[in-house]
Symmetry: C2
Subunit: 262 residues, 2 copies
């Protein structure tokens, strides 16, 4: 990512997505602003999904719920959720059906949109604290893994916890826990440190989403709950229809990361 | 309240309610355990109310949602939400219709129950920190006030914020803020210190719910968001039907207060 991306305003990032001029992971874009995972479900599934978020606040910390009939979130005036993400995924009957750059023709007044906090928000605080971010250095997407840890079911929704991973030097693990613990609304403190096998991750070099990163000697893989968890739930629960962001290709809001710290 | 009440187990408090042997505010009963506000709505209003809680986490921090068809919460094995509170209120068409000691005959498989955190949970921590609790000393119900501060609407739900009030010596106000700030899931830090008129409270000596307490020289009235807020929303929103606890007459769960601290 260029310095240019870092200094872009959220509105400019969204406009670039809308114009089809930005098709890449948004990590590092619009420094200082909250990025969000997207999950869009028909109204009849909305209570179950909202309850799923309430029961699983680590992977699904809600930033905002945009009710049926609306496409402009309060956290991003002027935005349009149908066009302003760089890449979308459409799931049908519990399968990934397609990836697209906009979903205007799929959107109906029956759809409820959920914006879910994203760990990119606390990466700024980690960087400021001096914790290296390997995937940012490498200009790649953060690695994400489907675990064998179950989420708490809610109605029709169930499925495995998905986590993101950042390698952290052993001496900085406590710092990384404390810094991210201040950001409950964007996944908060890690859920697991080291021992990927205990999460059911067979090969740390092969993430289920995003790109692999190097883990150097003296570093531990540190795992945070991830907002891709709803996509794993859409698959596991055989949801008839939903729209999500593509992993790493987030919605950039006008909220500041600083406003989320406790 | 007697020392006996303090040392009762949650299950014994619930059994006493079920047997009709306990009809008083539950503040000070079953020391150390989480008490909860109750809001029960028909399924068709459940998404709107869950969203209302998500948008108003200070007055409505969810402890648990008990889905339609169930009456036994996970936070209190063996409990029955239809009988295990000392007193209930029934609202019909946006009016308080009746108060009763159980609601067995009103409960249907269409009802969804919301258990909402209660400030009684942090009173233990306040007392341990040396902050006096006037209403506990006086064996009375905590005073609660309907304010002119609006909640964030969600679907059909809207209405004023309700607050509870405790007088705190000026020198202990920072301590009271910090201690209760550790308990986000039971209203957390106060919403307002001093200046009741700024909340639209005309006469601090006349609470809308509960009992008045003395504010001594050198003390400030400190206000916390209150779980009676859903009842004010039921009135303001002219909800056709809902069941709640009577203010101060809470559901006593098996969760420990300590487990809620962050």
């Amino acid at each position: 990512m260029t310095d240019d991306g870092r200094t872009m305003t959220p509105a400019r990032v969204r406009a670039a997505c809308r114009d089809g001029a930005l098709d890449r992971p948004t990590s590092g874009f619009a420094d200082g602003f909250v990025q969000a995972n997207l999950m869009v479900v028909p109204r009849e599934a909305a209570f179950d999904f909202l309850l799923f978020c309430q029961r699983n606040p680590k992977p699904c910390p809600l930033v905002e719920v945009v009710e049926a009939g609306r496409v402009e979130p309060a956290c991003a005036p002027g935005a349009d959720l149908r066009t302003d993400l760089p890449r979308y995924r459409v799931f049908r009957d519990g399968r990934l059906s397609e990836e697209r750059s906009e979903v205007r023709d799929l959107w109906t007044d029956d759809l409820v949109a959920f914006l879910i906090g994203c760990s990119f928000s606390f990466e700024e605080a980690l960087a400021e604290a001096g914790v290296p971010l390997r995937h940012v250095e490498a200009c790649s997407n953060v690695p994400m893994y489907r675990t064998q840890v179950p989420t708490v079911p809610a109605g029709r929704f169930h499925g495995p916890l998905v986590v993101s991973m950042r390698p952290v030097p052993a001496s900085q693990v406590p710092l990384a826990v404390r810094v991210t613990g201040r950001f409950e609304r964007v996944h908060g403190a890690p859920v697991h440190v080291g021992e990927p096998a205990a999460l059911g991750i067979a090969d740390i070099g092969r993430p289920d989403f995003g790109d692999p990163v190097e883990i150097r000697p003296g570093e531990l893989p540190v795992f945070w709950a991830c907002g891709v968890t709803p996509q794993a739930a859409a698959l596991a629960s055989r949801l008839p229809f939903c729209i999500t962001h593509a992993p790493g290709y987030m919605f950039v809001s006008d909220l500041t990361n600083a406003s989320l710290a406790t």
